[in-house]
């Protein structure tokens, strides 16, 4: 068993080394990942080490409880909604080997533990060990070391089992709608979390936080991070209880993960759904167009839009992105609005639109296109063979995606308008959203042509390659900041203009966004025409 685990570990490291060999930009991405991880490790470590400074509950209880919960939740949400999981060791590759499932799970877990995020987390939580040593000596430190290690396993098992479960749900046509709903709810959980944080920041009283922290300490979210302090303060039983609780959670998660493995191991080979026979009304060209956009012209442009529209729903990877966006997109501005009315400047003047949430949602919507060619992978070859003009291609892609996004943005604006009880808000919000979305399109269309990367052809829509998670996040972050900066004039206008004049923001914002998006497409189209084969090579998975 130990030997096999060692093999998995060496396999993972070998994959990592080979993926970096001779690829300048990948090494750069990896180094940036290490830097970011190191930064997180150091800052986190310092914060956690503060537990050793003082005996007040702010240090001994609140830091480990809330800090630990943040770490665990980060492992839960970030792969799901943002970075994806590093599935270098795709379970499907082990399908033919005579490995017991228990060994396979162990091996995959070990492989998942070998990575920058896991290492950074371990270093950060080592701060707790330092704190425990300062307060309770060697024994407390050793116990906390065990707790931190267990917590890391918990984090990895949590993120793996969850993405794997969602992947298998999204794969099956029968359950994918259910998965969509659950995913949306989970993303929506970010909302209450945000409320909690806002409330916590508003009520500066530490005492009011002690109670929730104590409760949190008896959930797997924070339990493993408190054991060192328990020992230092002589609560041996509590420490043991928390460790057992965490261990049980880990075992349950691993069991859950192993349940979803068979479906993941069948992998892409089993992508087959039912043979849907039966004649369809209309000729082939009529079938290509979804009914709702059936009026589009039967030209290359119309066909591209129709295909994009179909793909945003039929491709599990794209659909997962779309669902996440919808969930976040609806909840963030709602909370922003509620937050603005219940706290802060409410009452003194009519509240402005939730500008920050608008900027975030608008740019997040556009950032989904940052690797739009990566979604297609080598299928993009068909466009290169035909020689689709870059301008046509990019315009159609933007329109096809907007068919989904613009209605979502309208819904968001309506909700904000209703909640804030100022109908004028609707126009301002929608105008600002469209402006940010438009500038985001401009930035991301350019990014998608210049910085495309290939996605692994597994059946897990959350999977990314080693190192690309960091690169992806970096590009996405740059693109989002760029989009918000470009839309700043409209955002400022939206924040300042109130009353009757606010309706002006709708046409202004929409026009601003449309013009900038068109501009970005012009710039990117030229590049695309010149480097289509290179783009194809970039998005084709290496074999």
């Amino acid at each position: 068993m130990a030997l096999t685990l060692g093999l998995f570990a060496r396999l993972k490291l070998r994959f990592l080394a080979n993926s970096l060999r001779g690829k300048g930009w990948r090494i750069a991405g990896f180094v940036m990942g290490c830097v970011a991880g190191g930064w997180f490790a150091v800052v986190g470590g310092i914060v956690f080490a503060l537990t050793g400074v003082d005996r007040g509950p702010a240090f001994t209880l609140l830091i480990p409880a809330f800090g630990g919960a943040t770490v665990v939740l980060g492992w839960l949400f970030i792969p799901l909604v943002w970075a994806g999981v590093d599935e270098t060791l795709d379970p499907a590759r082990f399908a033919l080997l005579p490995l017991p499932r228990r060994t396979l799970i162990g091996g995959l877990l070990v492989a998942a533990l070998l990575g920058v995020p896991a290492l950074a987390t371990l270093v950060a939580t080592a701060g707790l060990v330092v704190g425990a040593a300062a307060r309770g000596g060697v024994v407390a430190a050793v116990v906390q070391l065990g707790g931190s290690g267990l917590a890391l396993v918990l984090c990895v098992a949590l993120s793996r089992s969850l993405t794997s479960a969602f992947a298998s749900l999204l794969r099956a046509r029968r359950t994918r709608d259910l998965a969509a709903v659950v995913l949306a709810l989970l993303a929506a959980l970010l909302g209450p979390l945000q409320i909690g944080i806002v409330t916590a920041l508003q009520s500066t009283g530490v005492d009011r936080l002690v109670r929730p922290a104590q409760v949190l300490g008896w959930t797997p979210l924070a339990a493993p991070y408190l054991v060192g302090m328990d020992v230092a303060e002589g609560r041996w039983l509590a420490a043991a209880g928390r460790l057992v609780l965490t261990a049980v959670a880990v075992v349950l998660l691993l069991w859950w993960w192993s349940r979803t493995l068979p479906s993941a191991m069948l992998g892409a080979a089993s992508g087959s759904g039912p043979v849907r026979s039966g004649r369809v009304a209309g000729g082939p060209t009529a079938q290509l167009y979804p009914r709702i956009i059936g009026w589009l012209p039967r030209t290359a442009y119309g066909a591209l839009i129709a295909r994009e529209a179909r793909y945003w729903w039929r491709d599990a990877r794209r659909r997962a992105n779309l669902i996440t966006l919808t969930a976040i997109g609806v909840f963030l501005p709602v909370l922003g609005t509620l937050g603005a009315t219940s706290f802060g400047s409410a009452g003194t003047r009519s509240p402005g639109p939730p500008t920050f949430a608008i900027a975030l949602v608008g740019s997040l919507a556009a950032v989904m296109l940052a690797n739009q060619f990566g979604f297609d992978g080598s299928a993009y070859a068909s466009h290169v063979i035909v020689g689709v003009p870059g301008r046509l291609e990019l315009r159609a892609r933007a329109v096809g995606y907007s068919l989904y996004v613009v209605p979502i943005l309208v819904v968001i604006a309506v909700i904000v308008g209703v909640l804030s009880r100022h109908p004028g808000q609707l126009a301002v919000t929608l105008g600002a959203l469209l402006a940010v979305y438009g500038t985001g399109l401009a930035v991301n269309v350019i990014v998608s042509v210049l910085a495309a990367y290939s996605l692994p052809e597994t059946s897990n829509p959350f999977a990314v390659k080693t190192g690309t998670g960091m690169t992806k996040s970096l590009f996405a972050l740059v693109a989002m900041v760029g989009a918000v900066l470009a839309a700043l004039p409209v955002l400022i206008g939206a924040a300042l203009l109130t009353g009757a004049w606010s309706w002006v923001m709708l046409p202004i914002g929409a026009a601003y966004g449309a013009v900038l998006a068109a501009l970005g497409i012009e710039i990117a189209a030229d590049r695309l025409d010149r480097r289509a084969p290179e783009l194809l090579a970039a998005v084709s998975p290496e074999r």
Binding site: G22, G271, S272, G273, P274, V275, R276, S277, G278, R279, V280, G283, P284, T285, A286, Q287, L288, R298, T299, A300, G302, A303, L304, A306, R307, R310, Y311, R314, D315, D376, G377, S378, A379, A381, S382, H383, V384, I385, V386, G387, V388, P533, E534, L536, A537, S540, R543
Partner: protein, 297 residues
């Protein structure tokens, strides 16, 4: 019509390859005559003078490895050209560079007088490609994919509908109905890929391993279609390492190994009265087993 270009295809077609027992159905005959009409159009002037595909000094290097080391090749219009070679010889790389999927480090690829890299619009209009190891837009159904490809090529929707239906019928893909291409079997995927390449009636077909993973029935169907296509004045270039297929179909053969052309000529020239497989092994220089290895098997 103009289908029979003077002195072009018919003489090169290997008579007798199309077995009488596999007579194509009416739909197939209609489709093929349709394709032949389109293909033959305008060929009167160019058939003799301009090669269907001309490669001049193509070079491609991947990192340290020289994948294609300067290939010169001329594919006469109306020929059925087989590109043979062992695994890793550079067949796919060469074909990718010929059709504009991969930018060569040096050299040119000219399709019927139009350079693929400097005059891509005209070259790609005349070109139908079935790449290997490349995905299709496989979350569309077969009919949707054909419609998409046709419209992308700027074809008239009515023509797209008619030809797509015929192709689906002929290739026995009509029964798949709304099944997505991703759920097709490997052989069905090859067939739908071929249909996409044929849809706009190109004058040059470039096929990478068209018979891989195809069952014998579909294989003979594809052979029929290709033979008819060539007899109508079209040109086929295909890469393969299946000797038997090449021997039965091709009028011309080139053997590629280690990124360079080792032998090229008409099938009879290359064979020189021997078995093609023997010639291939000799040219490529494979090792022969002595019988001592793998004794544990």
């Amino acid at each position: 019509m103009l289908g029979a270009a003077p002195g072009a295809a018919p003489s090169r077609m290997i008579v007798g390859q199309v077995q009488p027992s596999t007579r194509p159905p009416v739909a197939l005959r209609n489709l093929l005559s349709d394709l032949a009409d389109r293909v033959g159009y305008g060929q009167v002037v160019t058939a003799e003078a301009v090669p269907a595909l001309a490669l001049r000094g193509l070079v491609k290097r991947f990192d340290a490895k020289l994948a294609v080391a300067g290939i010169d090749l001329e594919v006469p219009a109306g020929s059925f050209f087989g590109l043979l070679g062992p695994n890793g010889a550079g067949k796919t790389t060469t074909l990718s560079m010929s059709v504009g999927l991969l930018r060569p480090d040096a050299g040119r690829a000219v399709v019927l007088g139009h350079d693929v890299w400097s005059d891509p619009v005209e070259a790609k209009r005349r070109l139908g490609v079935l790449p290997d190891g490349v995905r299709l837009f496989d979350r569309l159904s077969g009919a949707e994919l054909l419609a998409y490809t046709g419209l992308l090529r700027g074809m008239d929707p009515a023509v797209v509908d008619r030809r797509a239906r015929e192709l689906l019928d002929v290739l026995a893909l009509g029964d798949a109905g709304r099944t997505l291409v991703i759920d097709y079997s490997a052989g069905m995927r090859k067939k739908i890929g071929l249909a996409c390449a044929l849809l706009h009636a190109p004058r040059l077909l470039v096929l990478d391993e068209p018979f891989e993973a195809v069952d014998p029935v579909s294989g003979s169907l594809i052979r029929d279609i290709l033979a008819r296509y060539v007899s109508g004045g079209g040109t086929v270039v295909f890469a393969s390492h299946v000797m038997e297929v090449v021997e039965r179909l091709c009028s011309h053969v080139a053997i590629l190994a280690e990124g360079a052309i080792k032998t090229v000529g008409t099938l009879d020239q290359v064979r020189g009265g021997r078995d093609l497989e023997d010639v291939f092994v000799e040219v490529v220089g494979g090792r022969t087993a002595t019988g001592q290895e793998l004794s544990w098997l």
